[in-house]
């Protein structure tokens, strides 16, 4: 923990165009290469992992990447597809072939309708940024009950924590079911008091995403919430 902190204190904020490294390192996300040198393409924090240098953005829109689990909102319906808002720059159609049910032509509305929330996976992104999404995987489904709200997509990694540690703490201490979409949409279900505590915790994470000792803060917040009982 201590060692971790001292490394975090060396965090450096870079702006687009800042020189990050020469050709001795590998260019990671949030960078571009010109004349063999690596430059930042985003406003964010410089991050070095082994031999790769990248930039973790401070803010910004959600950019879909293949394999992302996201929470989408149905905004329109066609005869053989639904139009889903996953907060990406482009609208994302969900074709009937990509859902776990057999849907006859023109019967899309019997399964999901405008205003429904769905757990989805991004299965492909082409060079123009158009996305292909699917519900055909274990655990992907229509969401019912609970509450949904948005956080900045750049803060999602903090909400999830290192290999899911943060989200696990919240699940354990509130007893809620929580899904965090990579697009910054979060769904929580449980009893009302616990939902409100979980929402409060996530709002705190979003506000203090770049501060240290966040895990401890969240733990004490949830431990000391009055509704936790014994």
């Amino acid at each position: 923990m201590q060692r971790n902190d001292s490394r975090e204190s060396a965090r450096e904020i870079v702006v687009p165009g800042d020189l990050l490294a020469d050709r001795s390192m590998k260019a990671g996300p949030g960078t571009y290469v010109e004349n063999g040198n690596i430059y930042a393409s985003l406003l964010g924090i410089k991050s070095i992992r082994s031999n790769t240098i990248g930039v973790v953005p401070l803010s910004g829109q959600y950019v879909p990447i293949r394999g992302d689990m996201v929470i989408g909102k149905i905004v329109d319906m066609g005869a053989s597809n639904w139009l889903v808002d996953i907060k990406a720059p482009h609208p994302s159609p969900l074709h009937v072939n990509e859902v776990p049910w057999r849907v006859e032509f023109g019967e899309t509305g019997r399964f999901m309708t405008v205003g429904d929330l769905v757990l989805l996976k991004v299965v492909g992104v082409d060079e123009l940024g158009r996305v292909q999404i699917s519900m055909k995987e274990h655990g992907l489904r229509k969401l019912a009950g609970g509450v949904v709200f948005d956080v900045a997509p750049a803060k999602v990694p903090r909400v999830i924590g290192r290999s899911g540690s943060m989200i696990q703490i919240m699940k354990n201490l509130t007893g809620c079911r929580i899904h965090v979409g990579q697009n910054g949409r979060i769904w929580i279900d449980g009893d009302l008091d616990n939902i409100l505590r979980a929402v409060e915790a996530i709002k705190l994470i979003e506000k203090e995403a770049h501060s240290r000792g966040l895990t401890e803060k969240i733990k004490s917040l949830l431990d000391h919430s009055p509704s936790k009982g014994e």
Binding site: V114, G115, D116, L117, G145, V147, L196
Partner: protein, 256 residues
């Protein structure tokens, strides 16, 4: 204006919380969001103010020029109020000529100032039937999170209060402060199910059945009203909103 589809379960959650007496952001039903008013925000305007009402962010500027009065009010100045909902403020706003919501916003703010007799228009007359001051109140929305009416109204009143008539510039004598006679402040409430909530956020506005804006001046006299939405208010509910408007309006007025 493209409409935002709201997730059904978000709507259900808001309604469920209300039935337990809680609002999504933890406020009381009759509690406004934190208000922050920066006066004289734009130096090139005759008067201006920037208002933060929670996450809603509005700038109002007042500009004045010399022009002709209307024939039916030959000895009174002219008031023109304008609002535009630019895409910068919200993903649901489209560029182009002002749509229905923008026109309604401008008209409600205009009505508050005009019918509340905020400005003594006769003092804006230079020469009857020939020359009067024409006053432009321009509303700019920087960020939209519900309740533009009240944010724009308080910004407009604050802007009028620090406005100076630029007489010297127009060669009409010495500059003088804009003659503000009254301070009408509007308070907007929405009805969701059986509940009346003041100062709705964006989410609450979408869920709301009906909306009522009531403007009252510093003596508690009502000067303007606007009802929106498809639902209805009973007489008692209207009176309840009127009371809220008088009570909360006084608090807001002290900040402008």
């Amino acid at each position: 204006m493209s409409k935002d589809v709201m997730a059904d379960l978000k709507r259900d959650h808001i309604v469920k919380l209300l039935s337990k007496g809680i609002r999504v952001d933890g406020r009381k039903f009759d509690e406004m969001r934190p208000i922050n008013i920066e006066k004289n925000y734009i130096k090139s305007a005759e008067g201006s103010a920037r208002v933060h009402l929670g996450n809603t962010d509005v700038i109002v500027g007042v500009k004045m020029i010399v022009g002709q009065p209307f024939p039916d009010t030959p000895n009174k100045g002219v008031l023109t109020t304008n609002a535009e909902l630019i895409p910068l403020a919200s993903e649901t706003f489209e560029s182009g000529p002002p749509g229905r919501p923008a026109i309604e916003l401008a008209r409600v703010v205009d009505r508050g100032i005009r019918e509340g007799q905020a400005v003594d228009m006769e003092k804006l007359c230079i020469e009857a039937e020939k020359e009067v001051w024409i006053m432009f109140v321009d509303i700019h929305i920087i960020d939209y999170d519900g309740n533009l009416f009240d944010a724009a109204n308080m910004a407009a009143i604050a802007a009028l209060k620090n406005a100076v008539v630029p007489a010297k510039r127009a060669d009409k004598g010495e500059d003088f402060p804009l003659p503000v006679a009254h301070e009408p402040i509007s308070v907007t409430a929405v009805k969701i199910g059986e509940h009346i909530l003041v100062d709705p956020t964006y989410d609450e506005e979408i869920v709301a059945d009906a909306r009522l804006t009531v403007a009252a001046n510093e003596n508690g006299n009502l000067c303007a009203m606007q009802k929106g939405g498809e639902g209805s208010f009973s007489v008692d509910e209207v009176l309840q909103v009127v009371d809220l408007s008088r009570r909360l309006g006084a608090e807001v007025r002290s900040k402008t």
